[in-house]
Subunit: 191 residues, 2 copies
DNA sequence: TTCGTCATGTAATGGGTTACATGATTAC
DNA sequence: GTAATCATGTAACCCATTACATGACGAA
């Protein structure tokens, strides 16, 4: 998860750990945060795997006196060729690992780098996942709403409405994807 | 988390593991599932802690022939006195552990067993948590929406709307709690 | 000179999941 | 008799968090 997010962000531009976390918060803020306690070990692991490397040409701030041998400043990372392959591999996955609650947001955030067919399959996968949940909630409400206390009922209803809302959103997105099949509209695609 | 959910459900009636999981799905369906792989070890641990015990008087189905010594059927659990204390303790907590994403739903589900002041504090805590997130999302959209690709933007907007929606819901609930201060309305409170 | 925030990291722990294994009971 | 679902459990693992520790740098 974090791995995909890091690969996705670094594919846009080289970043150091701290910066990476800011971008993570800004991009996925509403869904997940990721603490430094998981970010830095992940960066280590990914460097060991050869997917990222220290970025060349970051001697900017140094230049003066305190550097020379023991520069202990920002460690800027960039994707390696293997890292780009790994990212492509992760973005090509169109299974549950892409549409479950924890992961969907991260996959969606990098949809512009994802193949159109894969995008649609992920959106549909997530939608049917939510439709199942919606049916579960509906039948639970029909069967047991009379036995539920006020709060359980409120929770169920709010949950159901949230799910219904997300299903509508996904349906719109799927339609947009479908109709974009012939004339791919890239109104604002960076890089 | 699971512990609170189990205590809360068992406080309504004795249940066995499998049944417990069904109820868990029905009650928290839209938020979390909990697998048997975490449920059974949790039940073990809770029994060791003395919060739950095997329910007396479940020899119903036996009676015929196959029982006598080695009955290996449902293991029905019920709360002990210590378990009830533990539940009260957990329900009295009005800190972040009650209003964060993962835990709020579970706490809310047992609000009818929670003290009114605690209910309001949890609702307000969650609301300000979400308001922070909302402001983060808004400023992120203002600053960077022009640099975002289509999908990142969609994600941000959908996230923002979800948060706004939940804030409105919480505000309504808080108002209801407040106005219920004088005349506690219990239109449908089981047991 | 002290406070905030930038910046990097580790250790211990937490709280769950998946996959596997087994067997009883019920419905067709 | 056989498939579904009820029912209980274990082992291995995963992915993250919290709390802690350290230190540089800029602004007041």
């Amino acid at each position: 998860m974090l791995e995909l997010a890091v690969l996705g962000l670094l594919s846009e531009s080289p970043l150091h750990g701290y910066e990476l976390r800011q971008r993570l918060k800004a991009t996925l803020g509403a869904f997940r945060a990721f603490s430094y306690g998981s970010l830095y070990p992940t960066l280590r692991r990914m460097r060991a795997s050869g997917w990222i490397a220290e970025h060349e040409g970051d001697a900017e701030v140094v230049a003066g006196a305190p550097a020379l041998t023991g520069r202990r400043g920002k460690v800027v990372y960039e994707l390696t060729a293997e890292g780009k392959e790994r990212l492509a591999e992760l973005l090509a996955e169109a299974g549950p690992s892409a549409w479950e609650d924890e992961s969907f947001g991260v996959h969606f955030a990098f949809f512009s780098q994802t193949a159109p067919e894969v995008r649609v399959r992920i959106l549909e996968g997530r939608r049917s996942r939510l439709e199942e949940r919606r049916e579960g909630a509906r039948s639970s409400l029909k069967r047991a709403s009379s036995r539920m206390d006020r709060y359980t009922l409120q929770l169920q209803e709010h949950g159901l409405e949230s799910v219904e809302r997300e299903v509508r959103w996904l349906t719109e997105l799927i339609e947009t994807e479908r109709s974009a099949g012939t004339t791919p509209p890239h109104p604002a695609d960076p890089q």
